[in-house]
Amino acid sequence: MFDKILFGVGAASGLYLVRNLYTMLMVLPDEAAQGMIYRIMFFHIPSWWTCFICFFIAGAASGYSIAKKNFRADSLAVAATEVGLAFTFVGLATGMIWAKIIWGIWWTWDARLTWAFITALTYAAYLMMRNMIPDPNERMRVSGALNVFSFASVVICYKAIDWWRTQHPGAVMSFRTGGGNIDPAMEGMTYQNLFAFLMLCLVLVTVRLRQEESLRTLEGMRRLAFTRQRIAVLG
């Protein structure tokens, strides 16, 4: 039953994305200054928000897991981090494509872009670190603390446009600027795509969470089997 719901939500998010794509391409007009390519923002902005939300969940779950010694929360943290990292790469890729077309270069070292890169690296390091710790308890403790630390880079990345003068555009969404910087139709479209992304994200995180949980069980069972096997030696 749960599988079916999950599948349903996944399918719905796919359909929703297709519908959004249609509206984007067929209904909305080209933007005055940027022309056709501005539509990439409907993916760029929501994917960054989705990844920030994922990292926030991961940080909170990590904090909970180390405070309460809760392995499920730890699994949630990995799942959210992995999915968040995927969205980070979508954000990076769309941003870079956009930059190539608008600025003529793939990359520049302004605060926003740099910290987006740093964020990707810190969370990649978190995942790497997990793989290197064989003891599950220590893994939860150490990587949990690391995840809490890592959230600092997300905060800096989010606030970078306010703290430094960046080449990356400043805030346009009305909840940050008070409105007036973006056409309401485009803003609406951004939220719609964000919603689709979040649905997709929910499905992915759930799937990864269950996978992680069964992996953990499997690891324990294999250890047990190994001990039994050991005992059996030489009658």
């Binding site: 690296l121 810190t122 390091a125 670190m129 290197m132 710790i133």
Partner: protein
């Protein structure tokens, strides 16, 4: 609690000054990298002035990581860490004591490197000695506290000498960037005023936030 930190600080400093091995080695490392830099970036050009702060703090970050890396390894070699924890030494005392010891070591490396750099690159660093001292203290504390906390996390890893910088550098970039900027100004003889003071505030804020965070989390990191 502070008394225990002090005991641990004294022990770490004594252990290091016994052979001065890590200190000498990371000093040698810093000097070697300075030479390496002189091949990579033309040291006679005028532009070198603009990257003084960058060069120096990259150098200090590198040798700082090597120093803090030893910090918990020293405790690990004979399972001394277990003995300390069994003796009811609070993890935060341990962190504080070790951070202070590491701060001393990092400052010593800086104290040697700065004059050498001045001479080799013909840049007078000591026009504003108090500002320089302040920046060194603040930024070195940032390296020491976060470095020691992360060293505690990575101490059991086989690849700790690789993972420590990978995790630490992104985290201390704000502090390093501030230190680089301020050092550039100091080397040019400009007292930071007005807008530049934001970097000082950044350094202080960074230290306050991450010292609190590290002290709060260290218990979870070390004790199962």
């Amino acid at each position: 609690m502070l008394r225990m930190s002090w005991t641990i600080f004294l022990k770490d400093v004594r252990m290091e000054f016994r052979g001065k091995e890590a200190l000498n080695a990371s000093l040698a490392f810093a000097l070697v990298v300075l030479i390496l830099f002189s091949f990579a970036f033309d040291p006679t050009s005028e532009q070198i002035r603009e990257i003084t702060g960058g060069l120096l703090w990259i150098l200090f970050a590198f040798s700082g990581v090597l120093l803090v890396n030893r910090s918990f390894v020293r405790e690990q070699s004979n399972d001394c860490l277990d003995v300390l924890l069994v003796s009811k030494v609070p993890a935060s005392s341990l962190l504080l004591g070790k951070t202070m010891a590491n701060l001393v070591f990092i400052l010593l490396v800086e104290a040697v490197c700065l004059p050498v750099f001045s001479v080799l690159y013909n840049i007078s660093m000591f026009q504003l000695p108090l500002w320089l001292l302040g920046v060194c203290l603040l930024a070195s504390w940032a390296i020491a506290i976060l470095g020691t906390a992360f060293a505690a996390m990575t101490v059991n890893l086989r690849l700790r000498e690789l993972m420590l910088p990978v995790m630490l550098y992104p985290m201390i970039i704000p502090a390093l960037a501030a230190a680089m900027y301020l050092t550039n100004n100091i080397a040019a003889g400009k007292v930071p005023v007005g807008d530049d003071l934001i970097w000082v505030r950044l350094l202080v804020g960074f230290n306050v936030i991450f010292t609190t965070l590290s002290l709060g989390l260290i218990d979870t990191i070390l004790v199962d």
